[in-house]
């Protein structure tokens, strides 16, 4: 159903949706780009961030505390998982990495289900950001508008860490030649642990920021994981800016297609991914040879 008002609201909605997808995808792509591990437990980590935030919110009533708790909890979970499980898989074939992270995701999801059941849990948006705002052309939930800003800041911080700090330099060097970095006396092992932790934290942060938009269930990450992979493939596997671009493209595709034919909104996403894979297998901003 086409009207200009609806068109502009959908374009804006695509931006908001895309921002969120970009944030979720960034953690996935950072881990893959650095460690070469395709982390299928990323959706589960996203979900756990939401639940950790929910618990913190329930205890304190503060959304800020919930965001901090959700992020930090996942940082810890990420580091522990990396030390106990993931690091043994860096040298193993990709299939093994997929299997172990897939297995981890089932364990994490069912643990949460055991504790919280499948009944959905809600985290309300902070009072300042709740309600609806008029954008002139349309009304839009205030919190979703705020999320665009929150995500922009978070992505800038991540960008700064990866591209403007010593840690980021080591990380990027580690991607190119970890043996050389190792021989320069830098503890690559520890850097990798930190990177996995940061990736998990990004997922957790996205999980709790997303919580007021959706209602939490143990399966909340599973649905989003598929989209996240689409985003990463479109943007370029392992490319941080690619995740941002891919997220925005995906958001716009879903929104604008839904206006023309809602039944095709999610299907078009996969059509776009297929197109990218055919024309540019390493993704829009990916580097040839690293796909």
């Amino acid at each position: 159903m086409f009207t200009w008002a609806n068109f502009f609201s959908q374009v804006f909605n695509g931006l908001a949706l895309g921002a969120l997808l970009a944030l979720i995808s960034s953690g996935l792509t950072i881990i893959y780009g650095t460690l070469g591990v395709l982390n299928l437990a990323h959706g589960a980590m996203f979900m756990m961030g939401g639940y950790a935030g929910y618990v913190a919110y329930d205890a304190t009533g503060s959304f800020i505390v919930a965001v901090i708790a959700g992020s930090l909890f996942l940082l810890v979970v990420g580091v522990v998982l990396e030390r106990v499980v993931i690091r043994h898989f860096y040298q193993r074939p990709h299939e093994d990495q997929l299997l172990v992270t897939f297995g981890l995701s089932i364990v994490l999801i069912e643990m949460v289900r055991l504790i919280f059941s499948s009944l959905s849990k809600s985290v309300p948006a902070p009072p300042l950001l709740s309600g609806i705002t008029s954008l002139g052309i349309t009304f839009y939930p205030t919190y979703r508008i705020a999320v665009v800003g929150i995500v922009a800041v978070a992505l800038l911080v991540l960008y700064f860490v990866l591209f403007r700090t010593r840690l980021g330099m080591i990380v990027r060097a580690g991607i190119e030649d970890s043996a050389m970095v190792d021989s320069l006396g830098i503890n690559v092992d520890r850097v990798f642990m930190v990177v996995f932790g940061i990736g998990a934290m990004a997922a957790g942060f996205a999980g709790i920021v997303n919580a007021p938009i959706v209602s939490l269930t143990p399966d909340v990450g599973e649905a989003i994981l598929v989209q996240t992979f689409v985003v990463v493939v479109i943007g370029g596997v392992g490319s941080f800016p690619g995740a941002v671009l891919g997220g925005l493209i995906a958001g716009e595709i879903i929104s604008i297609t839904s206006m023309i034919n809602p039944a095709y909104a999610y299907i078009m996403l996969f059509a776009a991914m297929t197109l990218v894979l055919v024309l540019r297998p390493y993704g829009l901003l990916g580097v040839r040879g690293r796909e």
Partner: protein, 447 residues
């Protein structure tokens, strides 16, 4: 997901364990009835292998993960309670199936349970396993009519009986009906026929309606049924937002609805999709602009949406406060609450009654031989249920039973924390049904 998760939980629910031999009340009384079938008929499906021992198995494929996990878990509770009652000869079970005292035909009933995640392929795979390995004599499962339709076909092919769990599509006992499948609960057609007059009376004629429809057999048939039932009163569809099962976000659909100029939002989404789409409709201000209607009510929806169902009309299969009118409902509520600590919702009630009806039919047939059991259902006799007397229609195996119209209670009117709905009307089933052949049902063969 990349790979198919196969949570394969097998539970054996054997309450009255160790029922050595066959009790006097069991085969003794009914053995007389069975020879006509037992002697002349060659083996069929899991018969007689599945019922030669001291126990019989029922295969359950129900969503315990994914969008319909909450409702699936609830159905499972209903089946577990029913099996417990069959094996112990509980009074409520006896009210529906008088001859059931220690198991069905004297055989202890066991439940084999697998997670279907509401996916047809996963459900079929699990049930195939139960048929081959455990020789189950009955299958059940679904939420998701896509699963119900797939299991219907499996039942007909394998010649093993199937009673649906929650399934709202017209197709389940319509174009995809089978000789081996039976449905107890209400469905698109009866829901729409029951709720339409109430809606028109409440909101008036000539309304513009926005629909939200999940993109599979349940969604399409329910939406169409409501459209058809309200057409005569001038209700028109301004937009129909079709979305995939388990959509992670409904914002783009809701924007289309917000900009559609509709007076009403009829939301056919189910399970967590219903919860999420209603919560997001609130976030987008849609619920302030238009009235929400839920034509096929979702167990736990009022609880999960935190007040958003207040004042909302819905059609349902069972709501616990009808216990004032129906003594068996009162008994069921009490038994369910004693075991699980809360009031039952309609998924559990449907599960319980489906099993109780099956037990009754088997006892009456005096054999597990499937064609004999089917023919007993097809007699169309009036039998008790939690919502009064009902019967199964021989032409399409649909139970003719009332539909209950409810309206979400305001917080201030709730007498206790589970008092979410007012029962507005209990509409008798017979007048709601389509003609038996209207949806293209051809049942297929007995053998």
């Amino acid at each position: 997901m990349v790979a198919n998760r196969r949570t394969f939980l097998r539970q054996t629910l054997a309450m009255g364990a160790g029922m050595g031999g066959i009790s006097a009340g069991g085969l003794g009384a009914f053995g007389l009835l069975s020879p006509a079938w037992a002697k002349d008929e060659p083996p069929l499906g899991t018969w007689p292998a599945g019922s030669q021992g001291n126990s019989v198995g029922i295969g359950v494929a129900v969503p315990r993960t994914g969008t319909y996990a909450v409702q699936g878990e609830d159905e499972l509770k209903g089946w577990q309670l029913a099996v417990e009652h069959m094996n112990s000869g509980n009074d409520l079970m006896k009210k529906i199936s008088p001859k059931t005292s220690k198991g069905v035909l004297g055989k202890e009933v066991k439940l084999y349970v697998a997670d279907s995640a509401a996916k047809p392929n996963q459900a079929v795979q699990a049930q195939q396993g139960f048929i081959t390995q455990d020789k189950v004599v009955l299958m059940t499962g679904s939420t998701s009519s896509a699963v119900a339709v797939a299991l219907n076909k499996l039942a007909q092919r394998e010649k093993v009986l199937y009673v649906t769990g929650i399934s709202g599509s017209n197709d389940t006992t319509g174009k995809d009906c089978v000789r081996y499948g039976f449905r107890q609960n209400f469905f698109g057609q009866t829901a729409a026929a029951a709720i339409a007059p109430v809606l028109v009376k409440q909101f008036g004629k000539n309304k513009k309606v926005a629909y939200m429809t999940p993109d599979y057999t349940y969604g399409h048939t329910v939406t169409k049924a409501v459209q058809d039932a309200t057409k005569a009163d001038g209700w028109t569809t301004v937009t129909n937002q079709v979305s995939p099962l388990g959509a992670p976000d409904f914002s783009s659909y809701l924007l289309n609805i917000a900009n559609s100029g509709a007076d009403l939002l009829i939301n056919v989404n189910w399970g967590h999709d219903a919860v999420l789409s209603i919560q997001q409709a609130k976030q987008f201000g849609v619920l302030d602009k238009m009235k929400l209607v839920v034509p096929y009510q979702v167990p736990f929806l009022a609880r999960e949406t935190g007040g958003l169902m207040q004042g909302v009309y819905a059609a349902t299969d069972y709501w616990w406060t009808i216990e004032d009118k129906y003594p068996l409902a009162k008994m069921f509520n009490a038994e369910f609450e004693k075991k699980y600590g809360y009031k039952p919702e309609w998924g559990a009630a449907n599960a319980y009654v489906s099993f109780a009806h099956w037990a009754r039919m088997v006892e009456q047939a005096g054999t597990f031989y499937p064609p004999a059991v089917i023919k007993t259902y097809e007699k169309g006799e009036t039998i008790p249920s939690l919502v009064g007397d009902v019967h199964y229609r021989p032409e399409d195996h649909q139970c003719i039973r009332p539909v209950i119209i409810v309206k979400g209670k305001m917080q201030k009117d709730m007498k206790n924390k589970e008092d979410y709905y007012d029962v507005i009307e209990i509409v008798p089933g017979a007048g709601l049904m389509q003609k038996p052949d209207a949806f293209g049902c051809k049942l297929g063969d007995y053998t």
